[in-house]
């Protein structure tokens, strides 16, 4: 494992305080689900992609995902940085310079990033911090994402801790950033005309395998019509939902274990459905009432305890159109910024 090696002299980013849970993530680890390996990857892949594009990285470069509390980080050398996702009110020290989301900033050696706010159901729960070049950790099974479940990948297979030092891959030209020391004027930002998915939007879902037949259709209808909230039980493996009108599976509806994917919504005997997240196990036996459309997985990644959740039932055609729209959003953003969207790994 990469973990045992001491950090190389120098390094680029030093972790002073790791917040609640800060991990290295890219767009995930695909192709090993048959070995039981969860996909991992950014819980809000759009925010990761946007932060990466802003600093000139490919959409799938490795960056930091902070949950609910931002990390305090010190730059050991000059770096470019962009933040996207939930806005926790980042500032750079010295000077208390605001680090607005969705634009590029420059940090000088010794500068620190701090956060004045936290995540919440109102602002979202995950913020992404991407550095020019991307974080240099070893690819394990094709990805730099941290597998918290498997304790491999990312930085030593775990969430970051104070004292960790991260290296960066060599950055492409720090495009559009005025390199003056002492705080440059950011000139690269995400076009305001390109609206990013917002957490007020309903989560679009497709019918699951447990929605077949008249009985299943009625259950799906009840599920979609219900106003749900996220319980305190939420992490990178899954989100537990609750409501005043629980929707239960039919008694005996458990099936032999079968493959599942992030976005699948399982009905549990308790009446509190579980929405699978990127670190979820690769197989499961609870009936799947619905599956979140791929285009809206990014919204799932911003939900936390107390977040209201509304669902909207769509068909496959609409889901494909939504996915195409998401891809278009990223390529138009990339074109406006002046980078091409590279291969996602």
């Amino acid at each position: 494992m990469s973990g045992v090696a001491a950090p190389r002299a120098g390094g680029a980013i030093e972790v002073l305080d790791a917040g609640l849970q800060t991990t290295v993530q890219d767009l995930g680890r695909r192709g090993y689900e048959h070995l039981g390996v969860p996909q991992s990857g950014a819980a809000d892949p759009i925010a990761l992609a946007v932060a990466n594009l802003l600093v000139g990285n490919t959409v799938g470069a490795a960056a930091l995902e902070c949950t609910l509390l931002g990390a305090r980080l010190r730059a050991r050398r000059a770096v470019t940085v962009a933040l996207a996702g939930a806005d926790f009110g980042a500032v750079a020290q010295p000077g208390n310079r605001p680090l607005a989301t969705l634009r590029v900033h420059r940090l000088n050696p010794g500068d620190t990033i701090e956060f004045t706010g936290t995540g919440s159901p109102a602002v979202g729960c995950r913020t992404y911090v991407s550095f020019g070049g991307g974080i240099d950790v070893e690819r394990v099974l094709g990805s730099r994402s941290t597998s918290l479940v498997g304790a491999f990948g990312g930085f030593e297979g775990r969430a970051l801790q104070p004292g960790d030092v991260l290296d960066l891959l060599v950055a492409a030209e720090p495009v559009g950033v005025d390199g003056r020391p002492g705080g440059a004027t950011p000139t690269v930002s995400w076009p305001e005309t390109l609206r990013l998915p917002a957490d007020v939007d309903p989560l679009r879902v497709l019918p699951g395998t447990a929605a077949a037949g008249p009985d299943g259709a009625a259950r799906l209808k009840a599920f979609v019509a219900t106003a749900w909230f996220v319980t305190p039980e939420f992490d990178r493996r899954g989100l537990r939902l609750e409501s005043k009108q629980p929707v239960r599976s039919r008694p005996g509806a458990e099936r032999p274990s079968q493959g599942v994917a992030p976005g699948a919504i399982q009905l549990a005997p308790s009446g509190q459905p579980l929405v699978l997240m990127p670190d979820a196990g690769t197989t499961g036996g609870y009936p799947v009432i619905a599956v979140v459309a791929s285009a809206d997985l990014c919204l799932l990644g911003q939900l936390s305890a107390g977040s209201p959740v509304r669902f909207e039932l769509i068909d496959l055609e609409a889901a494909q159109a939504a996915l195409a729209a998401r891809d278009r959003l990223l390529s138009e953003g990339a074109a406006a910024i002046g980078h091409a969207v590279g291969e996602p790994r």
Partner: protein, 260 residues
Amino acid sequence: MTGRPAISAFGDAAILIDLEPEEASAGSATRKPDARSAGGATLEAGGATLEAGGAALLATTAAAQALAARIRSATAAEPGFGAVVPAAASVLVHLDHARGSTTIDVAIDVVRRIVDGLEEAASGWRSGGSILDIPVRYGGADGPDLESVAALSGLSQSQVMELHSSAVYRVLFLGFAPGFGYLGPLPAALVLPRRASPRIHVPPGSVAIAGQNTAIYPVGSPGGWHLLGRTSVPMWDPQRSPPAVLEPGGLVRFVSERPP
């Protein structure tokens, strides 16, 4: 297999092939009686096979593996196809956007042609093969549920150990966590529902049983299976190729380090 496999979209990024689809009119009246609701314990899924008997489990898992292998080779050159995940009686085909673009309609047609073109389903696992012996420390702190399993199954602790280590198990499929193999089928006397309340943390190396299956937890994780013992054999190393020690179709036997 009891009939034609049912093929359906699993969201917009995966396709599920169910080898044992419930009849369209499935109601509780047409379902097989459940042999394991004994003792009033709550049956929980999410891990264990609940209904198939041992022989049926061997048949459906073998069919799922054979179909998955066929789909893997037939889609190797198709854009947009990702991992193919066989399980107890199904195969989930993941789409992977990064491996080329396809649409789910096109992908379903591809999968349907492969399934329709299959000859008769695989009749079972290939016999023979070498047996992987896994040394286990049964009971005590290593197997905190040995006592309750003995009580629930009406056996002595020694009988549970003997039974569990007397059978040769097939690796039926991998899932749940990295390198976690579903082994089975278990001797009928050891078939129990999962624990009513899952543990927050099961230590790596734990040897456990639930339903028709036994398994070794390769990494520490939450878990609802009954813990009989523990092994020091590492089951998962992402730096090794292949990273999982267990491979579907392989044979495993548990050997007690402390003979009863």
